[in-house]
Amino acid sequence: MARREITFMKATLEALSEEMAKNPAIFVLGEGVGKRGGNFGTTTGLYDLYGPERLCDTPICERGFIGLCAGAAMTGTRPVVDFMFSDFILDAVGEIANQIAKIQYMSNGRLKMPVLLRGSIGIGHSSATHHSGSYYSMYAHFPGLRVAVPSTPYDAKGLLKRALNCDDPVLFLEHKSLLAAKGPVPEEEYQIEFGKASVKREGGEVTVVAIALMVQHALKAADRLASEGVSVEILDPRTVSPLDTEAILKSVRKTGRLLIVDESFAPCGIGAEIAARIAADGFDDLDAPIRRLNGLHAPTPYSPPLEAAVIPNPETIAAEIRRLLEE
């Protein structure tokens, strides 16, 4: 049978739809998740299947409806917030970090907190500074949250299904430049565990850990370098919390060189965390300094030439790999 290829968005829609069919306690909240089917088509068709209470349009009160989810999750339902752009839920960081993330702990494990927060991240399409944020590093900093940042339709479906079967709060972050990308997704049921990296390309000379869209960019860079005779291994952690340190250590043991590519801000970012872990536990395996390639530490500008200047691309990634190989 031919491998089925579907888009990232379709893969997540399948995951959500399948789980909603199984579990009547799942409901979705967000602006336009009802009849409209979601700003990114994330709930297309579900309103007709499950009705307005399970596909609930909200007023523009992100803090409010995320705070509401905490109470819902404690009392027998499983809320999904479809927040459109990760920038919008900065108003809810108090509810996320101080309530949702902490209540399992504070109740000594007597309350569960199965809240799924899902929506788009990433720079692209001249979305400008209020529609380009990522913030996964911030969420990985807080204890009590799971943070998934898939880069393929397959991973997206498997991780979303996992999230909907897990009692922890999960941030599920979808890069907007990946939503229309297609990839193989089997018809059969599967889930992907959190904290398991995926080797997106095997190679022997340098390890590149990349996040979300940067995985695709790194793959392009590796293709180019292959033609120059350079063998690049590419790892996608898939979840930044938990983070699969073992897989990265294993790869660095082989290559001796590590570059982390992350389009978002460098300071206290996930690239720093990866570098710190390897500088601690993989120190003896390193043949060269650990390098990070990040987007500029600046708000995201609108104009295409400015926007392009603030994020890594296949060329800058390839250049950085070449430099690292010379160290």
């Binding site: 009160c61 109470g71 404690m74 339902t77 809320p79 000594n108 494990g109 009590g144 996992r162 922890d168």
Partner: protein, 322 residues
């Protein structure tokens, strides 16, 4: 109609709260409480009057000033005092203290040290109950200070448009720490703000347990029957400082405090019981003694309880399911 038993139940509950608080205040001075302690003295009628309508499977969400709500919802004095003493036997197993009381077994779904979130969480429980076609109801208790917070606005609006089975109980004790409500609020009435959300807003004398009970009864019934949420403003007063150990007369006068002590909700109920001939002095003293004994026992229990094991300090950050 309320009978003698009901009134005596109110009396016992309010005294239980009062005596626990007084014991905690003393314990705080003695250094038995390592963190903060916000007492509920003067406001007992609200917790007692509202929670009398709640079933065990109904839920409440409270604040930094939550001891009274915890007790009224069914947390034992032992579990409450042990929690403030930081012991493994406390309702939050020592993780919480005064501001983080959890007892989901009896419907206390948490108290929060941050002003606001509990309003939203109560709305969320209401959402669950609606979605699950349950007749359970949910209540948020919060102060006048929380009314100026965005959580109040967003929570009440959502509860209104989705007709959620929620009671929003504002205990307007006229101060947020030391900031007067009349200064902080653009509107002198909390209850009147119900209108902005299309919700019934009811003002009640929060020092009169019968009045609170009556108003809460209507609201709970409406919620259970699918009639949606209610905003209840209980006008009341805390007669101790914001938190134990804090100064109290930089922002309010001794006279004001004394005037409110004269309106003490427990004394008032006591007078009513005696005047109506529903109970004699002896009967009330007997209850007082039982309560006193229970609180003594609780304090002894708490002090004798073990400390939590430091090796468990990072347990339950995540569930075991994922």
């Amino acid at each position: 109609m309320l009978g003698k038993d009901d009134l005596l139940r109110f009396y016992r509950m309010m005294q239980t709260i009062r005596r626990c608080e007084e014991r905690l205040a003393k314990a705080h001075q003695q250094g038995l409480i390592p963190g903060a302690c916000h007492t509920y003295v003067g406001q007992e009628a609200v917790a007692a009057g509202v929670c009398a309508h709640l079933r065990k499977d109904d839920v409440i969400f409270s604040t930094h000033r939550g001891h009274g709500h915890a007790l009224a919802k069914g947390v034992s004095p032992r579990e409450l005092i042990a929690e403030l003493f930081g012991r493994a036997t406390g309702c939050s197993r020592g993780r919480g203290g005064s501001m983080h009381l959890f007892a989901p077994e009896v419907g206390l779904m948490g108290t929060t040290g941050i002003v606001g979130p509990n309003i939203l969480q109560a709305a969320g429980a209401g959402y669950s109950f609606k979605l699950l076609r349950s007749d359970r109801v949910s209540a948020a208790f919060f102060g006048d200070g929380a009314v100026q917070n965005g959580a109040f606005h967003e929570g009440l609006n959502m509860a209104s448009i989705w007709k959620l089975p929620v009671l929003f109980v504002c205990e307007n004790n006229q101060y947020a720490t030391e900031v007067p409500f009349r200064y902080a609020s653009g509107s002198p009435s909390v209850a009147a703000r119900g209108q902005a959300y299309g919700l019934p807003g009811v003002e009640v004398d929060g020092n009169d347990v019968l009045a609170v009970h009556a108003a809460a009864g209507e609201a709970v019934e409406r919620a259970r029957k699918g009639g949606g949420a209610t905003l209840l403003e209980c006008k009341t007063y805390r007669t101790r400082p914001h938190a134990e150990g804090m100064a109290d007369f930089g922002y309010r006068s001794r006279e004001e405090v004394e005037a409110w002590k004269a309106r003490d909700p427990i004394l008032r109920l006591q007078r009513q019981l005696l005047e109506k001939g529903l109970a004699g002095e002896a009967e009330l003293r007997a209850i007082d003694q039982e309560v006193e004994a229970m609180v003594d026992d609780a304090a002894r229990f708490a002090e004798a309880s073990p400390w939590p094991d430091p090796a468990t300090a990072a347990d339950h950050v995540y569930s075991e399911s994922c």
